[in-house]
């Protein structure tokens, strides 16, 4: 896995999770990971819509919710910026995330008749 300096949003079309929620979550985690720091300018609603090839209303909805939550600030005519609000993810939460992700992997693998070994092997190749 190569180091990702630049912040980028990636949508998973098949997960079933609504795009606007994916955007919200990824920006929140970007803040938590310090990839997005106070004052950073987010892409414009229209630009991000084009980049992700989704409707601009969807981006708008995500930004609006993030603003309500206080994570970003919109300045009319200038753009949208990361705010001061901090997000801290505790080690316990991280461990929880790992557990739930693994549980999910095992369930899906099971469902599709995929073995854990196959998953692990495929993961080796990613690196």
């Amino acid at each position: 896995m190569k180091k990702d300096k630049k912040f980028q949003i990636v949508l998973d079309t098949f997960s079933g999770v609504p795009f606007y929620k994916q955007i919200i979550e990824q920006i929140k985690y970007g803040i938590a990971n310090k990839k997005l720091t106070s004052g950073f300018q987010l892409p414009t609603v229209r630009q991000l819509a084009v980049d992700l090839t989704i409707n601009s209303n969807t981006v708008s909805k995500a930004y609006k919710e993030l603003e309500i939550l206080g994570y970003i600030e919109t300045q009319q005519g200038t753009g949208t910026f990361i705010g001061n609000k901090k997000i801290v993810i505790s080690e316990i939460e991280r461990q929880e995330k790992i557990k739930s992700l693994v549980r999910e992997i095992v369930n899906k693998a099971n469902l599709y008749g995929i073995t854990i070994d196959e998953i692990k092997k495929a993961l080796e190749e990613v690196e």
Copy 2:
């Protein structure tokens, strides 16, 4: 991973995938995996609804779609049964599934600041 003889449907409430689609997919994979064979009686609409703690209409909707697609047969007053239609999953499709599952894992790990090594380690412990 221990061997799972009995067929069981598991819903992921947080995935965002509609319940009825999860049911459809799992039954289809059950047929593909030969865990569900022709003539096998599925749980009743109401029983499955209770088991999954969802509304019976949701189960009904899933069964209905599977019936239209020809995978199951319903007999009013008797129950719902697996039909004759076969589902074959090619090795290519399996490999595709593995790829997409791994892609999903990497994306999520990335998002949450989890390393692949942590995932692999956690997967070891499952076995």
Copy 3:
């Protein structure tokens, strides 16, 4: 019988045939008769529900089944449209329909003590 340019769905409340099946059949015949052609926008789920004074879920169910069968296509947020799939009714099928319709008429007439002559006379007056 006057020419019917506009497509319209009519429900028979007393026939005992489920509403959603009547809708499905009429749309299928509309496609077969070329009254509904590829790309045509069907009434919205809610509008048709209002027009037929039935619940929107019932319309939704009909549209859903037609979509699974490939006759119509739905676009979230936009509407529901006739697809490309063709339906051909052979002359043999038409003759079968006539036969079964006549059989039905005779049965009912018989049952209610109505003579075929009365039916024919009443049919003359329709024209």
Copy 4:
């Protein structure tokens, strides 16, 4: 159409009207038409079920409802008989029936792309 001396129940599987309702209606009309007169013994529940190849519960349900309505009487161990209650169908009701039947015919013909002439021609041939 040949004269029908004997009373006989005919089920229409495709009408969607439940069997038990068809049975009830036909017996009621039999009484109205004087084809079934007071004291006439109806077939047993089991016999009629066999004749119509339906479940005996269905026949039972029809007879029970007719008994509640007072049209037939059940004598334990002997059989089921037509009661004294008369049913009179007024000429107005008959004319209404004709009208509604014709309306139904026209609707269905319309739907299936059948002309009234074809119906009339087919009706000629029945005689």
